[in-house]
Amino acid sequence: MKTYSVDALLAHEKFQLANPGVETNKEIGSVYIGDLLSWVMSHSEQNCAWITVQTHINIVAVAVLLEMSCIILPEGCTPDEDTQKKALEENIPLLVSPWTAYNIACFLKEKMES
């Protein structure tokens, strides 16, 4: 499977960066979807784009721990203020999208295979 970048994703109108100033030249190697952070910590992988509806600050810690490429909040979820700040500090791109997790994953699959 080829990769896709966070920069390329942000060029698409359906994705907005919630923490401007963060480094976005990161490669996305895979996609992971999950909202139970204990489960995500033990099952997701490095360089993934992680789609979750959790907006709590702990999502940043999970992304750092797993060395993820970015976090994507689907369906118009907005991150908590401290989550946004922490994601900037820890250099984790935090994206928001009106699409569902399914739509986002389908879009990424298509892009990563082309």
Binding site: L37, S38, W39, M41, Q54, H56, N58, V62, D80
Partner: protein, 242 residues
Amino acid sequence: MKNKAFAVDLHIHSCLSPCGDEDMTPNNIVNMALLKGLDVISVTDHNSGANLPAVDALAREANLGFLPGIEVNTKEEIHVLAYLPNLERAMELDEIIMKRLPKIPNNEKFFGAQLILNEEDECIGKIGDLLINAVDLSLGDLKTLVEKMEGAILPAHIDKKSFSLIANLGFIPPDLHLRSVELSSNYKQGDNTLMDSMIKDLRIFRSSDAHYLHQMLERSFFLHLKEKDPMEVIQKIRGSES
């Protein structure tokens, strides 16, 4: 004044919780607590304090210690016990929570009824919206709100695989400055070394989470207090006792 050991059960559901048995009436809960020899109880229904006035009055009559509570389902889908120093404060919290509850009608056939009872155990109303949904209030905001009301929060059954602080957030957020957590009654320390290390410096509470009368605790979990005062229990939970 010396502290005495008081038997407590601080997590009990009444018939207001859709999952609570219809026998969990205010009178039955108070009388069962007396039969079991409990000194202090708390009734903690999902997202509502509507049955607290009746239990509060009955407990007072029976000289049973009573700590008004609500089991809030936060935005992160974590069950958190919120304890308040008196009924007035608990009903203030009830009002705030109800405003933030999604307007999704309860399906009684599927979830069970949500009955409000008076001191005579007469049904004086029902709550229409499903109480077990997540309210639009984060864990951090709930803590701030409850502590401003001189109450305390206690994350419920944190060892469970759903609706728990650890399952949903992975670890205890350090900036929450928690001093106490609740473990479910069947969790044995040693079952999970990671969990044990997360809670090693915290005060552990064990309650029944009773949905049926027989599930309420016997005299098995004790707090050392000067008297059966709600504020003293709250200080224990907050780790701020003198």
